[in-house]
């Protein structure tokens, strides 16, 4: 009896919760725009900027679904169940290249409901590379740090300095912090290790997760210690810490395809949406096609976030206020008015 009561109670609670959800959802006839909410800040801010404009200006219900790169993109391609994302604001394609190619091909195949379409660039020229704190090379008189590797300019100088970046778990070699397991850059870095001939002097450390990589770099920086590893921009970490990118031979497609002994190509970050979305929400697609920012804007709102301990929502609001001239050009005038009214 007691159990039955409890069951009824929880059923009631569930009903009430469902009621609340439907009660507050605006315009239930329009399809829900679900954003793939990746773990890094810039993607989350772009999601919130776009979501605000889509919700307030175009009147679609919006939602975010959190997860990792591969998982969210797989869900976006398959679009199974009500929770799957249908918009990805930052593709970073080469970190899931195989899956991306597959999803794009499926998007063009009329015999399947799976796949996505590419709506063009969100921002161009994102940077990836190998970094050390600037004080390692140039010192920092303010903090009283002497340069420990004054001649460290390019990746080819690394063998000389392995002792500086000593790996505590294998003291005979230096430690290189590679990228998050599963991202293609982990494999790229491995190939570069061979191509640059630093395999004998350095171990590749797999940091296990994004927060771990960022925390290890930031902690070393705060304590004025040497650190060597992979990172990318736009990110708040590179906006906040003064890091120096090690020189590599200029990017060359031929070298890249074989040994990878050259710099990462400048990646453009595109927006992709599930292939069925254009039919369901043509005005959203028109807006997202116009959506384009620059690397500089990205670095600025990320730095704003870090400096003011702002949330991703607050950073999005800051962007909408600061770059009004930019985003009002992405939507029709009446929509822009609605968004502006909602901002107040």
């Amino acid at each position: 009896m007691k159990q039955l009561k409890r069951g009824m109670f929880s059923a009631l609670v569930t009903l009430a919760a469902v009621g609340l959800l439907f009660g507050t959802a605006p315009a239930a006839d329009k399809t829900t725009i679900t954003f793939a909410d990746f773990g890094w800040d810039s993607a989350q801010v772009h999601n919130r900027i776009a979501a605000f404009i889509i919700e307030k200006g175009l009147g679609y219900p919006v939602k975010y679904v959190q997860g990792e790169t591969i998982m969210l993109n797989t869900a976006l391609i398959q679009a199974k169940g009500g929770e799957a994302p249908n918009v990805n604001m930052e593709t970073w394609t080469e970190n899931w290249q195989e899956l991306y190619d597959e999803g794009l091909a499926k998007g063009k195949d009329p015999n399947t409901d799976e796949g996505f379409v590419n709506l063009g660039s969100n921002f161009p020229n994102s940077v990836q590379g190998w970094y050390v704190p600037r004080y390692v090379v140039e010192g920092d008189t303010e903090r009283g740090i002497k340069p420990t590797a004054p001649d460290l300019k390019s990746v080819f100088d690394l063998p000389k300095y392995w002792k500086l970046f000593q790996d505590p778990e294998d003291p005979g070699k230096g430690r290189f912090h590679s990228c998050i397991p599963g991202w293609s850059c982990a494999l790229v870095n491995e190939k570069k290790f061979e191509a640059y001939g630093i395999k004998e002097n350095y171990n590749i450390m797999q940091p296990g997760s994004g927060p771990a990589l960022a925390a290890s770099m930031e902690t070393a920086y705060k304590r004025g210690k040497p650190w060597l590893g992979y990172y990318w921009a736009p990110t708040w970490v590179l906006g906040k810490l003064d890091m120096l990118q090690l020189e590599e031979p200029a990017f060359d497609q031929k070298i890249w395809d074989t040994t990878k002994a050259c710099a990462y190509p400048a990646v453009k970050c595109d927006i992709v949406v599930h292939k069925r979305l254009p039919e369901k929400a043509p005005d959203v697609i028109a807006f997202l096609k116009n959506y384009e920012t620059t690397l500089d804007i990205n670095n600025k709102f990320l730095a704003y976030m870090q400096d003011n301990k702002a949330s991703t929502e607050e950073a999005a609001a800051w962007f909408l206020k600061t770059y009004e001239d930019l985003w009002t050009g992405w939507v029709p005038a009446d929509v822009a008015e609605k968004v502006k009214a909602a901002m107040k």
Partner: protein, 285 residues
């Protein structure tokens, strides 16, 4: 009804401040502590990597047969361990085992004395209990990152985080085990003129042994459960293999590594659990 915004405890800012202060003031101390722990860890790992596999497989088989009292069980346990090697995951498995064993050793060194102290003082128990609750329910990523900030990326913060998660059961069960020792027995020991330490080592601990062994069993299992999470801060082993497989959606590869963790858990659980119930039989007799 919305909670009034004027009531706002800036706990996050305090914690950040404390963390910064600890880092800048005791950074050197944690470096030294970290190096010490790392030596201990590296030697444990070297030992397990050096141990020839037939000896370990045979040893586990014989041990399981002796404590579980069935040659079939021994064969099963040895078989499971053999399977780990057959999947090509022996080395990673040994790395994981080394981390678990090292974590358990440190956990016991901290946990059993704390449990004894808890049993002998009610106020101390009142203080420690909510802390143990916190250690077991606080989402592990919350303390993984601070551990990483103190000890750097790799095995040491992984050990640290594993201990936080795994030490509560052995503390709790040592406490309960000692408290459950009948008052009559202790009174009798007093009557014979035993000192506090004599009662502790010759009466309470031996009688509490089965309960403490269950605690050790629980601690070991929880340490093993922490393996995948610890890999998120760079600890090599089966956990990292699972993480890699998940991130690349290689379902089969993840299943292999996951299965190895399950097998190791079963082996460790059955053997330590049998040891615990074995001694129970003896004391009852």
């Amino acid at each position: 009804m919305e909670f009034p915004k004027s009531i706002d405890i800036p706990l996050d800012i305090w914690v950040d401040g404390i963390m910064d202060w600890v880092l800048s003031t005791f950074g050197g101390f944690f470096d030294m502590l970290g190096t010490g722990i790392l030596y201990f860890l590296m030697y444990t790992e070297k030992f397990f990597l050096w141990l020839p596999w037939p000896i370990l497989v045979l040893g586990v088989g014989i041990l399981a047969w002796r404590v579980m009292g069935s040659w079939l069980a021994g064969l099963g346990m040895a078989g499971m361990l053999f399977f780990v090697g057959a999947l090509g995951l022996w080395e990673l498995g040994m790395m994981t085992l080394a981390l678990v064993v090292a974590s358990v050793i440190v956990s016991l060194a901290i946990g059993i004395p704390l449990g004894i102290a808890m049993a002998s003082s009610d106020p101390f128990q009142a203080i420690i209990k909510p802390i143990l609750d916190g250690m077991q329910t606080m989402p592990s990523f919350v303390y993984l990152i601070p551990a990483l900030m103190l000890f750097g990326l790799g095995k040491v913060p992984a050990l640290f985080a594993t201990i936080i998660y795994a030490v509560p059961p052995v503390i709790r069960l040592t406490n309960v085990g000692i408290r459950e020792v009948s008052a009559n027995v202790i009174e009798a020991a007093h009557a014979f003129g035993s000192s506090y330490w004599q009662i502790l080592f010759k009466v309470q601990l031996p009688l509490a042994r089965p309960t403490i062994l269950v605690g050790i069993n629980q601690t070991t299992m929880m340490a093993l459960a922490m393996v995948v999470i610890a890999s998120m801060i760079g600890a090599k082993g089966l956990g990292l293999e699972v993480l890699l497989a998940i991130n690349r959606i290689e379902v089969g590869r993840g299943f292999e590594a996951g299965l190895c963790i399950v097998f190791m858990a079963i082996i460790i659980d059955r053997i330590t659990f049998s040891m615990a119930s074995h001694t129970k039989d003896n004391t009852d007799r």
